[in-house]
């Protein structure tokens, strides 16, 4: 039962980390765009999803979508809501990373005839990532912790299953205390992974210099 919950938490986390990273990159480039409309839309997105509690967003999607005839399960709703919400945090972190990229580098890339897309993907993003990786790491660690809220929309991930176990065994303290330690171990593992990525990126960038 615990293992089942862990698998759900792990897959929701992995999918949402990928989803929020993708949304984050797109919105971050929007937020630094020269076009006022794009910039305003992207910054509005960041402000909106950061200033409304995640649980309210999840309820909005979970109860609201069936009203317009869209029926999707708790897993998909949860993953989508997490990607959208955490995407706003990721975008804000990446935006400040992009703003720190030396404009000379971008001009040089433009002069050498690289396409717009290639400049974004191959030049700006890797340089911005190097600065943003640590804060981005804590955004993703927060994402893993936030998956626990999905238990409120009847998704039986770690916390949802723990609730069932706690009421079956009448030992809530032990169950939740163990759960707390488990989440700590999980986030610790994730921070180790991010450190590895950071080191890899640093070595890779140094090789290029």
């Amino acid at each position: 039962m615990f293992w089942d919950g862990f698998l759900v938490t792990a897959s929701v986390s992995a999918l949402s980390i990928a989803g929020s990273f993708l949304i984050g990159v797109i919105v971050a480039f929007g937020a630094v765009s020269r076009r006022p409309f794009l910039r305003k839309a992207a910054r509005g997105y960041i402000g909106l999803f950061r200033n409304i509690p995640f649980i309210v967003q999840v309820f909005f999607f979970y109860f609201g979508l069936p009203e317009i005839g869209v029926y999707i399960d708790a897993f998909t709703t949860g993953t989508m809501a997490l990607s959208i919400a955490v995407g706003a945090y990721a975008a804000d972190v990446l935006r400040s990373g992009i703003e720190n990229v030396d404009t000379g580098v971008i001009e040089a890339a433009e002069v050498s005839g690289l396409s717009r897309f290639k400049i974004y993907r191959r030049i700006i993003l890797p340089i911005a990532l190097r600065v943003s990786l640590r804060p981005l790491g804590s955004v993703f660690i927060n994402l893993v912790l936030t998956t626990s809220i999905l238990s409120t929309i009847t998704l039986n991930e770690l916390t949802g299953n723990a609730k069932i176990v706690a009421s079956d065994t009448f030992r809530p303290f032990e169950v939740y205390f163990f759960l707390l330690l488990f989440y700590c171990a999980l986030t610790y593992l994730l921070s180790l992974l991010i450190n590895l990525w950071h080191r890899h990126l640093n070595r890779f960038m140094r090789g290029a210099e």
Partner: protein, 223 residues
């Protein structure tokens, strides 16, 4: 019998939920700040035993979901200690601990940012440790910490929504009640979402104004 549609009582319910959310937020923020600063001082002055112990606890608080912490306090502690605890008490207790853990980190790094030379200078002028803390460290650390504090406050306001899960009738719980009764999720959750959004923005704006005032007070005014 289910009463579909909204009625005149709903705005009152909304206002009550708003009051509960704000009350829990204010209580946990104030208590959390006091405790957090105490933890930071214990750390900065390197009090043996207490410093590493408190820091370990705050690491656990920062690296586990607040929802699980709430369940642990509300469902677990009463069974373990054979005491009764109300949802509101559990909520304030948990959120206070959580806020304190984050405040401690902010306070420690703000105090670290102060030039050591100032402290040596103050000591050689015969300031007492208490007076150094109050007149030299505190005002400067507050200015350095202000942006992080505003961010934390906005974040903790969002976190209060989780207390609905242990049965506190806060703004989010009011949303759930109205949602179940009226079956109009879009309107209900939009109103609740907008309420939180406006609160967060007001909080950030108030924090920003306080920050500019503090900065003006701190700025080098010339000779």
């Amino acid at each position: 019998m289910r009463n579909q549609g909204f009625n005149w009582h709903d705005p009152i319910l909304w206002a009550q939920g708003l009051g509960v959310s704000l009350g829990v937020f204010a209580a946990s923020m104030i208590l959390g700040t006091v405790i957090g600063i105490a933890i930071a001082l214990v750390r900065v002055y390197r009090v043996p035993v207490a410093a590493p112990l408190l820091l370990t606890i705050s690491e656990f608080l920062k690296n586990s979901p607040v929802l699980v912490q709430l369940f642990l306090v509300f469902f677990g502690v009463p069974v373990l200690l054979q005491v009764n605890i109300t949802p509101a008490e559990a909520a304030i207790f948990t959120l206070t601990g959580n806020t304190a853990a984050f405040i401690a980190v902010i306070a420690i790094s703000a105090m670290d940012a102060i030039d050591r030379g100032q402290l040596d200078a103050a000591r050689s002028f015969g300031h007492s440790e208490r007076s150094i803390l109050r007149k030299i460290i505190a005002p400067q650390a507050l200015v350095v910490a202000m942006p992080a504090l505003i961010g934390l406050a906005v974040n903790q306001l969002q976190v209060t929504s989780l207390i609905s899960a242990i049965g506190v009738i806060d703004l989010t719980k009011v949303g759930q009640i109205l949602n179940q009764r009226t079956w109009q999720p879009f309107i209900v959750w939009t109103v609740i979402g907008v309420t939180y959004f406006i609160l967060s923005r007001l909080l950030a704006a108030a924090g920003g104004r306080l920050e500019t005032r503090l900065r003006r007070h701190m700025d080098w005014a010339g000779l």
